[in-house]
C-alpha cells in the first residue's frame, strides 16, 4: 500500500516488451539497478511497470537486446500535473480559493451564547462590542482569557464562563448564579401596614393584634395589624399590662379606587392602504449607511425596516406601504365604545394579576370637539405589607 502511494507520487509507465529474449532484457535491467515490478506474460510479450527515471535508461538496453518497447499507459502524479499545466486560470482559481478560504476563516462570523436565562444575550453582545469583539473581528485579535475575566467582572450574575472559538464561530457557555431565596425570619417581630388607600373589606389575622375593623377607611402607611400583643396577667397583683412582640401575619383585602381620565376627539384620520408597496435597500458598513435606492414615490406611507447582519456588513430592507389618509368623524356611540375598549386595555395592562375588578363607573361628558371620559375603577386587592417593628 505504502509502496503503491510512493509509486503513484513518483509516476510510472506500463510497458509492453516484445522480442526474442525478454528474459535477457529483464536481467540486464535488474542488473543495472532498475526497479521493475508487476511483470506478467502477455499474448505478445511481457508487460511490466517501471518508474519514469528507469524508463529513460531502459531504451538503451532494449536496443542492446533487440526488444521493442511500447508504452501502454502512463500513470502517476507527474503526468496528471503535466496535463493541468496548460490550464493556468484553473490553477489560479485553485490558489485564489485556498487564499479566500484562509482569509474568511480568520474572522469571527457568529457569536453564540448558551446557558443564559436572566442575562439577555444582547447585553452580553453589547458588552463584547464595547470591547471591540463582534461578528467580523479577526480571530487572533481576541484574547479569550481576558474577555472571560472582563465578563465575569462586569456581570455579577455569571458564576462561570467558558469561551471557545470553533472555526468561525465563537461559543460562550455561561452558568448563572442561582439566587438564594429570601428567608423570612418568623421570629423577628413586625407590623403590617397598608400599601394603598382603601376601604377594608376583609381581614384575616393569623398572628398579631388587628388595629382596624371591616369598613374602616385606611390611608397608605397606616398600621393594620400590630405585632404587639397585650398579655393579661390575672394572677399578678400589679395591674400593669405586659407586652409580647410577634411576627404579625394577616391577609387584608380592601376596596381601592383608581381614576382614569382621557379625551377622545371626534375627528380622526383613517389609513386606507392602496396595496402599493415599494422596497429599497441600504447597506451599512461599520455604521456608515449607504442608500442604494432612495426615492419614494408615495405621499403618505408607513415604513417597515428589517435588518440583516452579515458580519460587519448590515443590510437594511425598507418597505414602504402607501395609504390615503381619510378624515372621518365619530358618532357619540362609537366614541363611547372606543373609550370602553381603552379602559379595558388599560386595566389589563396596568393592574396586578391577582386584583379583582369590583366595579367600573364611567361618565361621558360631551364637549363640542371631543368626548371627555372620566371613570372610577373599584378594585379588590390585598393591601398588607410587612414592616419591621421598631422597639
Amino acid at each position: 500500500m505504502l509502496l503503491n502511494i510512493n509509486n503513484f507520487c513518483k509516476g510510472y509507465v506500463l510497458l509492453e516488451v516484445t522480442g526474442f529474449s525478454t528474459e535477457r532484457f529483464i536481467n540486464l535491467a535488474s542488473y543495472n539497478n532498475i526497479y521493475l515490478w508487476d511483470i506478467k506474460k502477455n499474448k505478445n510479450g511481457v508487460v511490466l511497470k517501471v518508474s519514469i527515471k528507469g524508463f529513460k535508461l531502459l531504451k538503451k538496453y532494449a536496443r542492446k537486446t533487440g526488444c521493442k518497447i511500447k508504452i501502454l499507459k502512463k500513470s502517476g502524479l507527474p503526468f496528471k500535473i503535466y496535463k493541468y499545466k496548460k490550464r493556468k486560470i484553473f490553477a489560479l482559481g485553485m490558489i485564489l480559493l485556498i487564499c479566500l478560504l484562509y482569509f474568511f476563516s480568520s474572522f469571527i462570523w457568529k457569536i453564540d451564547i448558551y446557558g443564559n436565562k436572566k442575562i439577555k444575550s444582547s447585553e452580553i453582545l453589547n458588552f463584547c462590542e464595547q470591547k471591540k469583539i463582534k461578528a467580523g473581528t479577526l480571530k487572533h485579535k481576541i484574547n479569550i482569557k481576558k474577555l472571560e475575566r472582563e465578563l465575569l467582572e462586569n456581570f455579577s450574575d455569571i458564576s462561570w464562563i467558558n469561551i471557545k472559538i470553533k472555526g468561525s464561530k465563537m461559543i460562550m457557555n455561561i452558568k448563572e448564579i442561582i439566587p438564594a431565596e429570601k428567608i423570612i425570619n418568623k421570629k423577628e417581630p413586625c407590623d403590617i401596614v397598608a400599601k394603598k388607600d382603601g376601604l377594608i373589606l376583609n381581614i384575616i389575622t393569623s398572628a398579631g393584634t388587628p388595629k382596624v375593623k371591616i369598613n374602616d377607611v385606611v390611608k397608605k402607611g397606616d398600621i393594620l395589624v400590630s405585632g404587639e400583643i397585650l398579655i393579661e396577667n390575672n394572677n399578678s397583683e400589679s395591674n400593669e399590662p405586659s407586652f409580647d412582640y410577634v411576627h404579625a401575619d394577616a391577609k387584608v383585602i380592601a376596596k381601592t379606587y383608581y381614576q382614569i381620565n382621557f379625551k377622545i376627539p371626534y375627528e380622526y384620520v383613517l389609513k386606507k392602504y392602496t396595496g402599493k408597496t415599494q422596497k429599497n435597500y441600504s447597506v451599512a458598513i461599520n455604521n456608515k449607511k449607504i442608500n442604494l435606492l432612495s426615492r419614494v414615490k408615495f405621499k403618505a406611507y408607513d415604513k417597515i425596516t428589517r435588518q440583516k447582519n452579515f458580519g460587519f456588513i448590515k443590510l437594511f430592507i425598507n418597505e414602504y406601504r402607501e395609504f390615503i389618509p381619510i378624515k372621518k368623524i365619530r358618532s357619540i356611540s362609537d366614541a363611547k365604545k372606543f373609550a370602553n375598549k381603552i379602559i379595558n386595555n388599560r386595566i389589563i395592562r396596568e393592574f396586578d394579576f391577582e386584583t379583582d375588578i369590583f366595579d367600573k363607573q364611567i361618565n361621558f361628558i360631551d364637549k363640542k370637539k371631543y368626548l371627555d371620559v372620566q371613570s372610577i375603577i373599584t378594585a379588590l386587592e390585598r393591601i398588607d405589607k410587612k414592616i419591621k417593628l421598631q422597639k
Binding site: E23, I26, N33, Y35, W37, D38, I39, V46, L48
Partner: protein, 95 residues
C-alpha cells in the same frame, strides 16, 4: 593450485560450521523464502533464464532453480532479490 583451492574450501566450510556464520553470504548461495504456495522470494540470484506463466527458471550460484506453477508472474525484480507470485506447484534444482 586446484588442490589448494579445494583445501581452502574445506577449511572455509569447517570454519563456517563451527562459527555458525550465515552460509548464504559466505558461499554466495540463494536464500529462498516461501509464503504458502503463493509467493516466493529469492535473494542472491544471478539472473532469469526463462519466463512463462507456467514455468520459470532462475540462475543461482548452486545451479538453476526451476519453478513450476500456474499464472506465475514477477511482483518485483531488483538487483538483490526477485519475488514470484502465482500458484506454485514444484520447486527443483537442475544442476
Amino acid at each position: 593450485m586446484k588442490k589448494i583451492f579445494k583445501v581452502n574450501q574445506n577449511i572455509k566450510k569447517k570454519l563456517v560450521n563451527t562459527l555458525e556464520l550465515p552460509k548464504e553470504i559466505i558461499f554466495n548461495l540463494p536464500l529462498i523464502t516461501m509464503v504458502g504456495n503463493e509467493e516466493i522470494n529469492i535473494e542472491n540470484y544471478k539472473g532469469v533464464i526463462e519466463y512463462s506463466p507456467e514455468k520459470i527458471r532462475i540462475n543461482t550460484a548452486c545451479g538453476v532453480l526451476k519453478i513450476n506453477g500456474e499464472k506465475l508472474s514477477f511482483k518485483q525484480i531488483t538487483a538483490e532479490n526477485i519475488i514470484v507470485t502465482g500458484v506454485i506447484q514444484t520447486l527443483e534444482y537442475l544442476s
